[in-house]
C-alpha cells in the first residue's frame, strides 16, 4: 500500500515538486522573519552594552549638573581608579541646507573620551576644534570625515568645526549623543554624568554606596555599571521582542497566504490521482488505508518542504539583513531553534491539515471511479460554503450598520472592526460562488470579442471555481491588506491635510523647529511679532499630557493657544472660544467618554495640572493637538518656553513671509514655511511607514503569485490530454500559450479586483473605527489601486510563462495515446 503510493508519487515528480515549492515558500517566510528579528536583537545587544563602567553617577531630570569638585570627591573614594565626567549640552548639526538635522538637539552634545561608549567607525578621535559625529546624523547632514560643519550651541551660538571621525554610540540608558567635541569645554565645565572605574579587587557596590552617601538622593542617581548594563540589555531584548512581534504579524500573513497555496496544491494533487486511488480501493484497500496513506504522504512532503523552507528562509533572512543593514555596520546572523521549529511546525501542520480534507475525499473515492473515463471528482456543491459565507458577511454588515455613528466607544470600535473582518472572511468563503457569478458573464462578454485563445483561457478559468477561488485567496489576502492600509493611510493623510487646512489660514506664515515637536527658542515669538507688516501672531504650544475624566486617566495631546489667534480649530459643536474652557477633538472626546459641559483635568507634569470645562468639540485628529486651552490658563513654564509653532498673518502675506524668512535666515533651529509645508511635514513620515507596510505585505503577494504558477502548472499537467486534442485538431503552439496566459490573467485579475474591493472596504472600516471619521468619508488610494491592477496583470502574465511554455511543448502524440 505505502509502496504503491510512494511509487505513484515518484511517478509524478512535477506535481510533487510544485507542492514542495508551495510548502517551502510558506515556511521560508516564517523562518526568515524569525532569523531577521533574532539577528536584529543580537546585533543591538552585541553593540549596545559596555562593561567599562564601575559606577555611574547621574543627575536627575532638571537637577543642577555635577561640578568638577563633585567629580574630584568621587575620584577620592577608596577603590576608585579614575573618574571621568560627561559634559552634555545642546548641540545641533547644521546640514547642507542650513537647517538642523532631525535629531533632538537638547542633549545631543558631549565631550569625546576614550571610554567604550564611542565606537569609532571612520576617521580618528577629534582634537581641539574638531568633532566626531554620530554616523546616521552625519549621513543625513551630508558630512564626511574631513568636512567642516557648523554646529549650533545653546543660546544660538554656533561653531565651525572639522569632522575628525564618525562614531556609533553604546548607551547605558542615556540618550545617544550626536556630536562629540574634542574639547568638551565648548559645552561648559559641569557634568550630567560621572563614570567611575574601580581598582582591581575593589568592590563596586561599596563604591556605589559611598557615592550615594555623598549626594542628595532626589537630585543624583548612583548605579553600578553592571546594573545599568543589565537594564540596557533588557531594553534591547524588549525592543527586539516587540520588533519581532511586529514582523511576525507579517509572517503570519505570509503563512496564511502559504496555507492557501499548500491547501490548494494538495487538493489538486489528490484530485489528479483519483484514478490511482480508486484503483487501490477497487483492489481492496480500505478507506482508512487510503486516508492514512494520503496523510503520511502529506507529512513526508511537509517535512521535506519545511527542511527546504528552513534553508531558504535562513538565506532570505540573511539577504534581508544584508540589504537593510546600514553601510559599515556588522550584523550577527543568529538562528535560534525556536524559529526553525516554528517553521517546521507550520510547514508540517499546515500540510497535514490541508491534506486532511483531501485525504477524506480521496478515501471516499468510489472504486468505480477507476473505470470512469475522465477520472475526476464530480464537482462538489458550493451551497454549504456559500451559505456560511453569506451568513458571515451579513453578520459583518449588521455589526457595521450598528456602529455607523462617529462618536463610538472603544467596544463599539472593536465591534465595527470585527464586522469588517467578518465581511472579509465572508468574501473568502463566497469566492468560488462569486467567481462563478462574475467570471461566467464576464467571460461570455469577453469571449465574444476575443479570439479562440481568450475564449479557451477564460473558460478554463471558470471550469473549477473552487480551484480558481483557492488560487486567488492568497492574492485576495495580500492585496486586500495592502489596499486596506493604503486606504487607511490616504484617509489619514487627507484628514490630516484637511484638518490643518481648516485650522490654519492659507495666508499664514508658519514658523517651526526643524526637529519634530521641539520647542522653539524663547525669543522666536517676540521676534516674529516685531517683523514689520505682521498683524496677528499666535502660537501652538504642543505638549504630550494626560487627561483625567470621570476618574480615568489617559495620554493625550494639548496646545495652549491665544484666543482670537491665527489658529482656529474647526468647531463641530459648542464654541471655539478657549477663554471659556477647553475645545476638544470630537474623536478624543468620544474615546474618553466626555461631552460638552464635562469637567476634565489636564496633567501637564506631575506637579502641574489644570482643570477646565469642555466648551466645544473640534474636528481635529491624532497628530494634531486634541485639547486646545487658553494660554492664559497655563503656568508660565508651559507658555514661553513651550512654543512649538508660531503663526503670523498680515495685510500682505507675501511681505510677512519674506520679512519673517529674512529675520530667521541665519537660524538653523528655525524653519519658516506655510500651511502646505506643515501638511507635507505631517504626512511625510506617515507615508514612509506605509511604504514599509506595502513591502512587508508584498511577501504574501509573492507567495500568491507562486500559487498561481502552481495552479496553472498543475492544471496543465492535468490537461495534457486535452491540450493534445486541441493541438491535434489544429491549435498552434502560440494559441496554446495564449490560452494559458489568458487563463492566468483572468485568475489574477479576479483576485486583484476582489482583493482591492475587500481592501478598500476594510480600509474604510478601519479609518472609521480608528479615526472616528464617517465610514463614507474615506479617501480612495487611486495610485495604489492602479498599481495593484497593473501589477496583477503583470503577475498573471509572468505566472503563465512557465506553465504556458510547458503546455505549448506538449507532445501531441504522447498526449493523445496515453490516457
Amino acid at each position: 500500500m505505502k509502496r504503491a503510493m510512494l511509487r505513484d508519487l515518484l511517478a509524478h515528480k512535477g506535481r510533487v515538486a510544485m507542492t514542495l515549492v508551495a510548502i517551502t515558500l510558506g515556511v521560508a517566510f516564517v523562518v526568515a522573519t524569525w532569523v531577521v528579528s533574532d539577528s536584529a536583537a543580537a546585533t543591538s545587544r552585541g553593540e549596545g552594552v559596555r562593561g567599562d563602567v564601575g559606577v555611574s553617577v547621574r543627575i536627575a531630570d532638571g537637577a543642577p549638573e555635577l561640578t568638577v569638585a563633585d567629580k574630584d570627591r568621587l575620584a577620592a573614594i577608596a577603590g576608585v581608579a579614575s573618574a571621568s565626567g560627561s559634559v552634555t549640552g545642546y548641540a545641533g548639526v547644521v546640514g547642507a541646507n542650513g537647517k538642523l538635522v532631525r535629531a533632538r538637539p537638547d542633549k545631543a552634545g558631549t565631550g569625546w573620551d576614550s571610554s567604550e561608549r564611542f565606537v569609532l567607525k571612520d576617521g580618528r578621535a577629534p582634537g581641539k576644534d574638531e568633532v566626531a559625529l554620530a554616523e546616521p546624523q552625519a549621513r543625513e547632514a551630508g558630512r564626511k570625515v574631513g568636512d567642516r560643519t557648523r554646529i549650533l550651541l545653546a543660546d544660538g551660538r554656533s561653531v565651525d568645526m572639522v569632522v575628525a571621525g564618525l562614531f556609533t554610540y553604546r548607551s547605558l540608558g542615556e540618550p545617544d549623543p550626536v556630536v562629540a567635541f574634542g574639547d568638551p569645554g565648548v559645552l561648559g565645565d559641569s557634568y550630567a554624568r560621572v563614570e567611575l572605574t574601580a581598582r582591581p579587587g575593589a568592590n563596586v557596590d561599596t563604591i556605589a554606596s559611598t557615592a550615594r552617601g555623598l549626594f542628595d538622593h532626589a537630585t543624583r542617581t548612583v548605579d553600578t555599571g553592571a546594573d545599568l548594563a543589565a537594564q540596557a540589555r533588557a531594553r534591547a531584548d524588549e525592543s527586539a521582542r516587540s520588533s519581532r512581534e511586529g514582523l511576525l504579524g507579517f509572517a503570519a500573513v505570509s503563512l496564511l497566504a502559504g496555507m492557501f497555496v499548500i491547501a490548494n496544491t494538495f487538493a489538486m494533487l489528490v484530485t489528479q490521482r483519483t484514478r490511482q486511488l480508486a484503483l487501490l480501493r477497487a483492489i481492496g484497500a480500505t478507506r482508512r488505508q487510503v486516508r492514512r496513506a494520503v496523510l503520511v504522504e502529506a507529512g513526508a512532503l511537509g517535512f521535506v518542504g519545511s527542511t527546504l523552507g528552513a534553508i531558504v528562509g535562513i538565506g532570505l533572512g540573511l539577504l534581508g539583513l544584508v540589504v537593510n543593514a546600514p553601510e559599515g555596520t556588522s550584523i550577527s546572523l543568529t538562528i535560534t531553534p525556536t524559529g526553525i521549529l516554528i517553521g517546521y511546525a507550520a510547514g508540517v501542520l499546515v500540510t497535514m491539515i490541508s491534506a486532511y480534507a483531501s485525504a477524506r475525499r480521496a478515501a471516499a473515492v468510489p472504486p468505480v471511479a477507476a473505470l470512469r473515463a475522465d477520472g475526476s471528482f464530480a464537482p462538489r456543491s458550493l451551497r454549504v460554503r456559500s451559505v456560511a459565507g453569506l451568513v458571515t458577511a451579513a453578520a459583518g454588515v449588521v455589526a457595521i450598520a450598528l456602529t455607523l455613528r462617529n462618536d463610538l466607544s472603544t467596544t463599539e470600535r472593536i465591534v465595527n472592526m470585527g464586522g469588517g473582518i467578518a465581511i472579509w472572511l465572508g468574501v473568502l468563503l463566497l469566492a468560488p460562488a462569486l467567481a462563478d457569478a462574475v467570471l461566467r458573464p464576464v467571460g461570455r462578454l469577453l469571449s465574444r470579442r476575443g479570439g479562440p485563445a481568450a475564449r479557451l483561457g477564460i473558460r478554463n478559468s471558470v471550469r473549477d471555481s473552487r480551484r480558481t477561488a483557492a488560487t486567488t485567496s492568497s492574492l485576495v489576502v495580500g492585496l486586500a491588506l495592502v489596499c486596506a492600509f493604503a486606504t487607511l493611510g490616504s484617509s489619514i493623510t487627507s484628514m490630516l491635510a484637511s484638518s490643518i487646512r481648516a485650522t490654519v489660514p492659507a495666508a499664514a506664515t508658519v514658523v517651526t523647529a526643524p526637529v519634530d515637536r521641539v520647542a522653539l527658542g524663547t525669543d522666536v515669538l517676540g521676534k516674529v511679532k516685531s517683523v514689520p507688516g505682521v498683524d496677528v501672531v499666535s502660537a501652538d504650544r504642543y505638549a504630550f499630557v494626560k487627561v483625567t475624566h470621570n476618574g480615568s486617566t489617559s495620554p493625550t495631546t494639548m496646545s495652549a493657544i491665544e484666543p482670537d489667534g491665527v489658529v482656529r480649530p474647526e468647531i463641530l459643536e459648542g464654541t471655539g472660544d478657549v477663554r471659556r474652557g477647553a475645545v476638544v477633538g470630537e474623536n478624543e472626546a468620544a474615546m474618553i467618554g466626555a461631552r460638552v459641559g464635562d469637567e476634565v483635568t489636564l496633567v501637564l507634569d506631575p506637579a502641574t495640572s489644570i482643570t477646565t470645562t469642555i466648551v466645544g468639540l473640534h474636528k481635529g485628529m491624532e497628530g494634531r493637538p486634541l485639547f486646545y486651552v487658553d494660554v492664559a490658563t497655563v503656568p508660565a513654564k508651559f507658555r514661553d518656553g513651550a512654543v512649538t509653532t508660531v503663526y503670523a498673518t498680515g495685510a500682505d502675506p507675501a511681505a510677512v513671509r519674506a520679512g519673517i524668512a529674512a529675520a530667521f535666515q541665519d537660524r538653523p533651529d528655525v524653519v519658516v514655511t506655510d500651511r502646505e509645508g506643515v501638511i507635507a511635514e505631517a504626512t511625510e513620515s506617515f507615508e514612509l511607514l506605509m511604504a514599509l507596510m506595502y513591502a512587508l505585505f508584498g511577501a504574501a503577494i509573492v507567495i500568491a503569485a507562486f500559487g498561481v504558477v502552481n495552479t496553472l502548472a498543475l492544471s496543465v499537467m492535468e490537461r495534457t490530454r486535452e491540450i493534445g486534442v486541441l493541438r491535434a485538431v489544429g491549435a498552434g503552439r502560440t494559441l496554446v500559450r495564449r490560452a494559458i496566459r489568458a487563463e492566468s490573467v483572468v485568475i489574477c485579475s479576479y483576485g486583484g479586483v476582489l482583493g482591492i474591493l475587500v481592501g478598500v472596504g476594510f480600509g474604510a472600516v478601519m479609518q472609521h473605527a480608528m479615526m472616528g471619521q464617517s465610514l463614507w468619508e474615506f479617501s480612495v488610494p487611486y495610485g495604489i489601486i492602479a498599481a495593484a491592477l497593473a501589477g496583477m496583470v503583470v503577475v498573471g502574465v509572468l505566472a503563465a510563462l512557465w506553465p504556458a511554455r510547458r503546455a505549448a511543448r506538449t507532445d501531441v502524440l504522447a498526449a493523445i495515446t496515453t490516457a
Binding site: 473515463a373 486541441l726 501531441v812
Partner: protein, 265 residues
C-alpha cells in the same frame, strides 16, 4: 496550398482532382535503436497505401500490428522513420510544425477512441473548434447537414460531461467533418461504445461518405464495424497483408482468423 474545384460532390467539398486523398509510400517506423538493451521494434515495415477519395476504408489487424502507428504517420501526428506521406498533393514530411498544425486544422479530421472533446466547450463549440481556431465562420448549410447527420441538434448547448459516450463520439465526428477535410482519420472510434451507439457513429461516417462526399480511414477491431466500410485493409507485423472490397462481417471475420493462424505460424 492550391486546390482545384471539387469533383462533383455534394456541398462542394474541396478536393484536388486526380490525386488520391491520402497516399503513403514506403512507410517505415522503427522504435528504439536496438543497441544495448534497447529493444528495436519495427512498427511499420515498408508500407505503401493509397486511400481514394470519397471512400470509407477500414484498417484491421491484430493488436500491435501497427494500425495506430500507420494512422498517426498518415495524419501528420507522427513522423515515419522513412517514407513519404501525401495528403492530397501535399507531402507532409517537409512541413514545419506550424504548417503541420494548419494542415491538421484545415485538411484533416480526427476521431480518437475517447477523450475527443474539450470539457469546457459546449457540443457546438467543440464542433466548430477547428474553424474557430482558423478564424473562419462555419458554412451554415454544411454545418446544418453535419449536425442533422449526427442527430444532435437538441444537444448543441450541452457540455461533454452531459452527453453519453456515443453522443460524445458523434460530436467528435461532426467536428472532424466540419472543415470539409480531405480525409477523416478515426482510431477505434467505437472501441468504448455499446452496439447501438456504435451503429449511430458508424452510420454517420458512412453517410458522410455517401452524402457529403467525405473520405474516411478508420482503424477498428470489430468485423461488424469494418462491414460499414467500402474496403478493408489488413495489417500484420507492420505490413499490409491483404485487402477486401465490399466487406461483410462474416468475410472480415474469416480473413481475420486466417491472418491470426498465419501469424501464429
Amino acid at each position: 496550398m492550391c486546390r482545384a474545384a471539387g469533383s462533383g460532390t455534394v456541398y462542394g467539398v474541396r478536393t484536388s482532382t486526380n490525386s488520391p486523398a491520402v497516399h503513403g509510400r514506403d512507410l517505415s517506423k522503427v522504435y528504439g535503436s536496438g543497441s544495448s538493451g534497447d529493444v528495436r521494434v519495427v512498427a511499420l515495415d515498408d508500407v505503401t497505401v493509397t486511400f481514394p477519395r470519397e471512400r470509407f476504408t477500414a484498417i484491421m489487424g491484430p493488436s500491435g500490428s501497427g494500425k495506430s502507428t500507420l494512422l498517426h504517420c498518415l495524419a501528420g501526428l507522427d513522423q515515419p522513420t522513412s517514407g513519404q506521406v501525401f495528403i492530397g498533393d501535399t507531402e507532409t514530411s517537409s512541413l514545419s510544425d506550424a504548417q503541420l498544425t494548419a494542415l491538421r486544422r484545415d485538411r484533416v479530421g480526427f476521431v480518437f477512441q475517447a477523450f475527443n472533446l474539450l470539457p469546457t466547450l459546449t457540443a457546438w463549440e467543440n464542433i466548430v473548434l477547428p474553424l474557430d481556431l482558423a478564424g473562419r465562420r462555419p458554412d451554415q448549410a454544411f454545418a446544418d447537414a453535419v449536425i442533422d447527420g449526427v442527430g444532435l441538434r437538441h444537444r448543441l448547448g450541452h457540455k461533454p460531461n452531459q452527453l453519453s459516450g456515443g453522443q460524445q463520439q458523434r460530436v467528435a465526428c461532426a467536428r472532424a467533418l466540419i472543415t470539409k477535410p480531405e480525409v477523416v482519420f478515426a482510431d477505434e472510434p467505437t472501441g468504448a461504445l455499446d452496439s447501438k451507439s456504435s451503429a449511430d457513429v458508424l452510420g454517420f461516417l458512412r453517410r458522410s461518405v455517401d452524402h457529403l462526399g467525405q473520405t474516411v480511414v478508420m482503424v477498428t477491431h470489430e468485423p461488424s464495424a469494418a462491414a460499414y466500410a467500402d474496403q478493408v485493409l489488413f495489417l500484420a507485423d507492420g505490413r499490409v497483408v491483404g485487402e477486401l472490397a465490399a466487406p461483410t462481417a462474416e468475410r472480415v471475420l474469416d480473413r481475420m482468423k486466417d491472418l491470426e493462424t498465419a501469424v501464429a505460424r
